[in-house]
Symmetry: C2
Subunit: 183 residues, 2 copies
Amino acid sequence: MDETVEMKVLESDNTISVASTFPGHQEEVQDRDYHFLSLAVEEAYNGVNCGHGGPFGAVVVLNDGIVVSCHNMVLEYTDPTAHAEVTAVREACKKLGRLELSDCEMYASCEPCPMCFGAIHLARIKRLVYGAQAEAAIAIGFDDFIADVIRGTAQYQKANLEIKRADGVSLNCNPVSCCVKCP
Amino acid sequence: MDETVEMKVLESDNTISVASTFPGHQEEVQDRDYHFLSLAVEEAYNGVNCGHGGPFGAVVVLNDGIVVSCHNMVLEYTDPTAHAEVTAVREACKKLGRLELSDCEMYASCEPCPMCFGAIHLARIKRLVYGAQAEAAIAIGFDDFIADVIRGTAQYQKANLEIKRADGVSLNCNPVSCCVKCP
């Protein structure tokens, strides 16, 4: 759902190539995604440093501005539903004074669990970019429940949402310093 | 996970029958479930009467006592995640001062949506009894996303949770008076 407008170009040798609207467009989108995703990862580290919960961050973006930047608040709130993504949906809706975020994107440091994916869907967020794959969280002791949602379940197939996994950006969580295991 | 202890009894004709621990035990469990489920349905009506959100209620029970009785607070909180079940998990954890509810049961007026099911799973609730099937909610305009979770998804199959659908108890929602459509 980014602003990329692609055109099919018929080359002189009859092959078809695809051109972006302007030179460097794809790189710009990549840079923008990398920028916001890095902020989500930074937020994950902040949360652990504060002792608020597990190493997860989420940023909600409207146009090119940050609406909210949140981390996991499970321990701080004694609330097993206060994952970064759910907290970000809640805070963004409160801030914007509305129940749907269909003009917003979410950048999450890690693949959302089924509960978070449900919240993202219910808020009608239009685009989700996430960093680490669920296995990164499972490896440090989180419930493998987290891995169920993006891959092959009915929820994902039905969601009207663009999802992008950003290869190369990982949480790089250190199991020794952030072994907070929220349920 | 109720307290039923069943015994296999070898009859004189060599057939095996199953006996409950005392006469009338099954009926007592039914009565108990009916009681708490009725309270969840009542809570759903309360929520609509207050204008707090959609017609959904959830009660968390520990032993035979009510920990919290909550309804959908989506409109009141401007929070698309404030479904009755999520609100009940949050409030129960806050009240008991802990992150897991593995000794608790939840009674929900309607089949939980995937987000709520995620929250129930994360809180380790041991038993879920629900009333109306998702179709009842879909019929009055709610997202059919709600129907995905209990039936045949990986989430449900992996959950260590007893789930009971209480036939015969329905929300009986009137589409004219409670057509609040939260996203």
